[in-house]
Chain length 138, copies 2
Amino acid sequence: MTEDWVALLRERGYRMTHQRRLVLGAVRELRHATPEQVHSHLRQQDDAVDLATVYRTLELLVDLGMVGHSRLASNAETYHLIAHADHIHLVCRGCGTVSEAPVEVADGFAGKVRAQGFEPDLGHLVVYGRCADCASAT
Amino acid sequence: MTEDWVALLRERGYRMTHQRRLVLGAVRELRHATPEQVHSHLRQQDDAVDLATVYRTLELLVDLGMVGHSRLASNAETYHLIAHADHIHLVCRGCGTVSEAPVEVADGFAGKVRAQGFEPDLGHLVVYGRCADCASAT
DNA sequence: TTAACTGCAAATAATTTGCACTTCG
DNA sequence: CGAAGTGCAAATTATTTGCAGTTAA
């Protein structure tokens, strides 16, 4: 798979670098990470990658279609591997917890949206609301 | 309805001011507006409300439950009247156009999410994807 | 070799906050 | 009158960019 990635970069005139491998690795490990989280995760290990480079790399990875991004909190964009995008996000407004649900729960919904001529990207679906705990606590 | 609002404010020790009326009016007229848009909309009229006040007022209105907010573009939070929140947002990644669909298309989906113990807030649902035009253009 | 990439620092953009003055009730 | 609200400017936070030195191919 790493090879596919190198080919993908080459095709577009990009190069494979140590930093890019590290950033992609961090996104894979963290599953849902903000640029800031990727940056500090890498710093905690031997490897430090400049925050600006993290931003540039994440943008590149999104462009290549390897990584997706969603706004899971009102002030932070989080990135995740497309290969892991087999779920939708349920964000609780009460406690901020992000839980996941299989994309299948949105299949019927997706069909109706498609019927309107819009092709939804469920790998990025974020639903706000209240989790069971916060709903009962009111 | 304006009276309800005044009562709502009073109950919580807040006051009704000229600026608050203006901001709510702008949100109503613009339907989906960023703080910046509310600010310039008001400035184009005789009335100018400081941008910081716009932010403070929108936050208050959200708190009162009169206004909702969603991230329709990657860099801008937009606000809308809850009374108008009878639709979901379809945001095209290709052209950036925001179209609307009735909440009913998500009814079945909402039921499945509830079955998992999560109460979704469909008035804030934002779905990213590609509109018919951009999908065919590829 | 050489164009792409990186780190660093400075620049922007979006949003928040401190404070003295104004206004609602 | 007195607490709540506002404008203005400064502070924060998130993200982007310019540039000189580094590195992949």
